[in-house]
Amino acid sequence: MGAPFDIGYVFSFLPKLLDTLGVTLMIVAGSLLTGIVAGFLVALPRMYKIPVLRTLSGIYLSFFRGTPILIQLFLFYYGLPEILKLVGLDLTRAPVMFFVILTYGLHTGAYAAEMIRASVEAVDRGQVEAAYAAGMTPYQAFSRIILPQALGIAVPVFSNLVIALLKDTSLAFTLGVMEMTGKAQTLGTLTQHFIETYIALAFIYLIISFTLEKLLLAAERRLTRHENREDKRESTFRLKKRGSYRTVIADINTGKGGGA
């Protein structure tokens, strides 16, 4: 199975893989933007219980959470041009990146929608009532009372969403996008040092997700600084020090437990 193990290759592969980091991050950023827009569009009908649209959002959520991202990638890549051909749109010349970002975006949208809905619903109704009682207009109540609290609640889930997305982008190579995993496979084939490339690859992913997690944790701390940080909940075991109970729950609640 290839050449004997040589740790030196791990270090020499790191800069080569980092060259393609931009592509990976571009997919993440692009899909995150698409995902948040799609998430809002899907979450609103469900929050306001708009008849037909609500059912459609339900189907959207069920489909994107019910099928693997890998299948979705192929489905969109091969299917979208054919479907759009029926309405006279020619997508055959669109870059692969378009399909990749669109698919990851719609996939993320499903999880973002649930995140948005859960966060808004988690804000205590009494808070809004108190805001009205204090004479705020509905817009003031939303922007000053609901939004800051909902953001704080959403951050741990959002953090997982971003990290899951980052890890999912490792599948984009199947459509021929030269992101980090694709590059790693090429390097492995060229040098026959597969295991070293994949160790370097895993290391880079680890560093990025670790950094993202820390940044978003700092954001959560800032957004929830008004809350009592002392954890007084009764529990058998102590919590990890760096996070809140919400973080622990959010860690597993994105529906991506074990996902790619």
């Binding site: 693997p68 091969y78 690859l201 895993a202």
Partner: protein
């Protein structure tokens, strides 16, 4: 290329044959992952020196890297380790005799273990401390109180997350194509490229996965109702 709706049905039938492979990968990784996860969660919660740190590092590493890299590292690294050891100790066992699906089982179990660790931990955290104190005050040992009092309640609390993990592993099993295991996804690829009907084949695969996911969700909801029967009333 012209859309051929009848081929979706043809592909659907051909893909059905690959369902057992997908399910076996899912079941093996979930079961092994649950055991690994329960052990690592316990190590971390009781703060066993050294082992707790190793468990934390394991969970952090696995959760911070894509599942595909785990599979590839195991696929390329494990034979190297096994063959090295075999040569050193003069075993007759060689890595060639490990079937391809074995790599998928091992790697996905390791992946699932890290995610399950968090599921188990959250489940146990959801059990009220008073429950353990009550168990100890009636004279149960730590192990007895864990087995009789904490675990049944933790299981009920963890069920939704457990279901999510199972679905995650079901979807993750599509990565097995990377080590030439023919699961639903790989089969779809084969059916698609032999008939040059990609969209139809993947649509059929998506329908199968969708159906399986909905099935798992339904079953989980049923079990949840049953396991949570003690917990009527309240808001939860």
């Amino acid at each position: 290329m012209q859309l051929d709706p009848s081929f979706i049905w043809t592909a659907f039938w051909q893909l059905l044959g690959a369902i057992p492979t997908t399910l076996s990968i899912t079941v093996v990784s979930v079961l092994a992952g649950f055991v690994i996860g329960a052990v690592t969660a316990m190590l971390r919660m009781y703060r066993v020196p050294v082992l707790a740190q190793i468990a934390s590092a394991y969970v952090t590493f696995i959760r911070g890297t894509p599942m595909l890299t785990h599979l590839l590292i195991i696929y390329f690294g494990l034979p190297m380790v096994i063959d090295g050891l075999a040569e050193h100790f003069g075993w007759s066992f060689r890595s060639v005799s490990i079937p391809m699906i074995g790599f998928a089982y091992i790697s996905f179990s390791i992946t699932a273990g890290a995610y399950m660790s968090e599921v188990v931990r959250a489940g146990i955290l959801a059990v009220d401390r008073g429950q353990v104190e009550a168990a100890q005050s009636v004279g149960m040992t730590t192990f007895q109180s864990l087995r009789r009092i904490v675990f049944p309640q933790a299981l009920a609390a963890a069920l939704p997350n457990l279901a999510n993990s199972v679905i995650g592993m079901l979807h993750g099993s599509t990565l097995a194509f990377a080590v030439s295991v023919v699961d639903i996804n790989a089969k779809a690829q084969i059916v698609a490229s032999t008939n040059w009907k990609f969209f139809e084949a993947y649509l059929a695969a998506a329908l199968i996965f969708w159906g399986l996911t909905v099935l798992i969700e339904r079953v989980a909801a049923l079990i949840e109702k049953r396991v949570g029967a003690y917990n009527r009333g309240g808001v939860a």
